[in-house]
Symmetry: C2
Subunit: 307 residues, 2 copies
Amino acid sequence: MSLLVVGSVALDSVETPFGIKEEVLGGSATFFSTAASFFNPVQLVAVVGEDFPEAHVEFLRSRNVDLSGLVREKGRTFRWKGKYGWQLNEAQTLDTQLNVFQSFSPKLPEAYRNTPYVFLGNIHPQLQGQVLDQVKAPRLVAADTMNLWIQNTRAELLETLKRVNLLFVNDGEARQLTGEHNVVKAARAILGMGPSTVVIKRGEYGALLFEKEHVFACPAFPLEDVFDPTGAGDTFAGGFMGMVATAGRLDRDVLCRAMVMGSVMASFNVERFSLDRLRDLQTPELYARFNEFKRLTHFDEFPLTAQ
Amino acid sequence: MSLLVVGSVALDSVETPFGIKEEVLGGSATFFSTAASFFNPVQLVAVVGEDFPEAHVEFLRSRNVDLSGLVREKGRTFRWKGKYGWQLNEAQTLDTQLNVFQSFSPKLPEAYRNTPYVFLGNIHPQLQGQVLDQVKAPRLVAADTMNLWIQNTRAELLETLKRVNLLFVNDGEARQLTGEHNVVKAARAILGMGPSTVVIKRGEYGALLFEKEHVFACPAFPLEDVFDPTGAGDTFAGGFMGMVATAGRLDRDVLCRAMVMGSVMASFNVERFSLDRLRDLQTPELYARFNEFKRLTHFDEFPLTAQ
């Protein structure tokens, strides 16, 4: 079933210990929709400037992403510049140029308004709310956010959260949002803010899913080489939501599988710069690594004859 | 099958955000043998001073720990004083008094020398080697170490590692030992130093087991309240080794189950100060939490009809 994403489409400049890439394709909606497109048709809502390369538009189209909600405005495309040290878990932002994103006001094409699965990428919570005003009867609303909105637009974020079913945050954001240091307490506090499910991403340590009645833990795939963590969170969400939308159900089995597919997708994404790995990725590779996760995490029942 | 441990038996003074405990029972061999005793008879090699309370000796005896290798020397017992902040992952050591431990030279009672499973707790690598000189034909030698030995007695540690089958280290120690920042590369490097298995402990993020051909990831049990992380690593190793010794096999199934039981045991231990939680712990609670780990980590096969 179709899946809608609103977020950024950007040109990123990224430095890691393994190299430098200037003005490559990036943005939360780009990573998300590319990842989700392996499972499901995606409808994208975003804005780019006049300078946005047509080749990138063509790439998204080739991924079967509906671009009728991608607006091209006068001015320059949103740009982000960041740097990672050997601690690849967190980027140091060197520069952010909002450009056309500054006046972005998401408008959904008529064909998007009945879409059942919605992902609100990491943008101003008021814009996230504007998107929700335009969708008619979503089955699942998922959202991402970041420290900037938690700190500067807390009231608006809390309003939006009341309308969100599933929140993706990293552990630092969960602590900042709730004032709870312990990750389990932080998750419980978020479950009191609106969402019935919260996914706490912990970078190389994997992710935890919390619902009122259960918890699921998924490790990150152990990789010898992480080249560029940019987009890991959004590809995680894209794999996760793609799985949920294609299953068309929201039960525990589907959510656990979605966690694993999110980790699978993120693990491929960080193997190369920008979206380079996802461009080459073949569906059978996804399923193969999904099954490797089973071997990585499953163990036998305790023998009944145990003393 | 019986299991031998050499390490410290200590009096700990611990401060956490939840309280202060002075001169409580501690030490690597104490935590390890108490945890392992849920599964298997344990033989202990350690030294205490004249001031070591007889009640603690009685406690260990009540856990079915063979104390014929516990020597009481003139002088004071080994003492450790540490403090944890809200980041409960790592202790700040405030004071270490070696006392009788300074001149400790482990001697194995004759009845210990044929013991098939050996755990070398975190002591000077030369003393670890002395223990190995005295055991006849161990089936599995496991060891723990710490930053102090990696930095100050590297050559001796590398000698001992050649005789070790399984090394338990935390991620910081793995990096320090190998010079590799990436945890997978660090584990591979350790597998080149002697051990055929390495377990990398990551505190609240769980643990990873590496062998040449496979990897297993086990999360930490998500706890709302961690009162005192002291002994978490040693109770992990105790649960792990107890499971291995009682199984009497070293195949992948047993090692994965041992990882989970190590996590189970550590998760109970940190719920209260010192060994207070392990004193009360009942075997059915262990198996119940073991099975909760299954629900925490297992997911269904990917449906064969996936698109």
